[in-house]
């Protein structure tokens, strides 16, 4: 771990074009060392291209970037020796066993035969794959393959790891296992940059999030900051008796000082509130008036709403080609 680098990644004006398409279109980035940084965006937003640039698999057409203090073009080998990339689709060898895959990479990284075996055993144990060590990877479940894939990326623990959509196509249980693995990496001192199209994943894991759309970063901050930038949270109240609704609307409007909407549900009302303290007063006001409330919720806007507000289109396209590929991949 090189604690003297304050920034794991510093990029300015990164550009990568494929023919007419500007896949990455002027990305500026400052990712601090430690923790998880999330790239959030829909398919085709440029997330994968951005991390392939940073992992030195692609050459930028413009701009500069330093990864762990090394220039990604001039010092590509120095970058390569300290970072690891786990691609979108399992890049372990399906014909080999879990153990053989890890030993192979250990040998390529310069471990002796016995060191490589010892390290492989350690990793299989840590990733809950010890039982499957001698099974061919093609007989692994999707979640097991993905965990092995991550294990393969940290045979030599990298200072920075790029995880490209590590949970795409996984069932909820496998996804949780991968999340645990990511938290384990962070606890070990590795900086994680992950891409995801799942808003809750970014919300759960990432300390800071960059929202990417059409090759540009359109917003950056903590999950909380991004939500705050969209504005107030939503309060929703559901009444016991629908006859109370006009009165409830009057009381709430008075105490909250903002417009209170009548929902299509005849029992429900909602309002956008900036000040959480007033919400408590409003609920107390309702009970003083004798209006019974069956359900009450106050939430920050979801990252879904953030995404929609910032980009004008939803984060997850209903139908995309990648989903098909992923399903096959996992099956």
């Amino acid at each position: 771990m090189s604690s003297h680098d304050a920034f794991a990644i510093e990029a300015s004006g990164l550009v990568k074009t494929f023919g007419e398409v500007r896949a990455v279109d002027g990305v500026d980035l400052a990712v601090r060392t430690g923790g998880v940084y999330g790239f959030l965006g829909p398919n085709g937003a440029g997330k994968t291209t951005a991390i392939r640039l940073l992992a030195t698999l692609l050459h930028p057409d413009g701009g500069t970037a330093k990864v762990l203090g090394h220039d990604i073009v001039r010092e590509a080998d120095a970058v390569r020796s300290r970072v690891s990339l786990t691609g979108q689709f399992a890049s372990v060898d399906e014909d080999l066993t879990g153990l053989e895959n890890l030993v192979l990479l250990g040998r390529l990284l310069g471990f002796s035969r016995s060191q490589a075996r010892a390290r492989a055993g350690e990793l299989l144990e840590a990733f809950d794959l010890a039982d499957a060590a001698d099974r061919q990877v093609k007989n692994f479940s999707g979640g097991m393959q993905r965990r092995l894939d991550v294990a393969a990326s940290i045979v030599v623990t990298p200072d920075l790891i790029f995880l490209d959509e590590p949970t795409t196509g996984l069932d909820p249980r496998s996804r949780n296992q991968v999340w645990d693995v990511i938290r384990m990496l962070v606890a070990g001192g590795t900086t994680v940059l992950l891409t995801t199209q799942y808003l809750d994943e970014a919300d759960q894991l990432a300390d800071r999030i960059a929202i990417i759309d059409h090759g540009k970063i359109i917003a950056e901050g903590t999950g909380g900051e991004l939500k705050a930038s969209v504005g107030a949270g939503a309060m929703r109240i559901r009444l016991h008796d629908l006859a109370d609704r006009p009165e409830a609307q009057r009381v709430l409007t008075q105490t909250l000082g903002v417009p209170v909407e009548l929902e299509s549900d005849p029992l429900a009302l909602s309002a956008r509130v900036a000040d959480a303290e007033r919400v408590a007063d409003a609920v107390a006001g309702l009970s003083r008036t004798g209006i019974a409330v069956t359900d009450f919720s106050l939430g920050q806007p979801s990252l879904d709403e953030v995404f929609l507000t910032l980009t004008g289109h939803p984060a997850e396209p209903a139908d995309d080609i990648n989903d098909d590929v992923t399903e096959e991949d996992v099956a």
Partner: protein, 259 residues
Amino acid sequence: MSRARPARPGPFSASLTFGWRAVLKIKHVPEQLFDVTMFPVMFLLLFTYLFGGALAGSTSDYLQDVLPGILVMAVAMITMYTGMTLNTDIQKGVFDRFRSKTVWRPAALVGALLADAVRYMIAGLVVIVLGIALGFRPDGGVIGVLAAVALLLVFAFSLSWIWTSIGLIARKPESVMYMSMMVLFPLTFISNVFVDPTTMPGWLQAFVDVNPITHLVTASRGLMHGSVELAEIGFVFAASAVLVAVFGPITMRLYNRER
């Protein structure tokens, strides 16, 4: 977690590691040896018994002549698996991981080619053992046969660089196979493997004369039967050197290219 950063392996060690990987794949997917062994067996039986009598007067005379040729043909044909395997690896993303390491770049290819030698030797062994059972009697003895196999391995290793180039360009493993077939079929058939070229039209003979397969077959026959001409061996080495000199750099350029 261990943060030990071992020194990167040398080119030789890295190549051997990749070779080990390919051998493991043979161990886990032994079916891939099926065509390696069945193909030459079928050809040897077919040509010896179907055409032997008509072409050489007797099947046993023909066998002495055709066996070295079939050996060459069988090994030349299976060199194309190198390109297919490489292409499959690329499609599956395995190569991204290797490319993102600091290992000596050509190691992945050299290692795969080394392991292919194992396949070639298996195919060679099958042809020779079957041939001897059928009545093949090499005058050159064990040494002559081994020398012929060694020469064949050198040529096969060199020829493989064409398929690695194609393997890096093609979109699918199947297209590597089609493209390789289009080269390999004329290359192996328009030669002296099966018949004496003197009965062919002149323009075809001209091709047969410059076809490296022809010279390899002539050299192998000579080595196995103890009547080799050094010029033939020289031609094979020269052809091998040219193949590596041309397709080696092309392959490495394609390999290092971003995708």
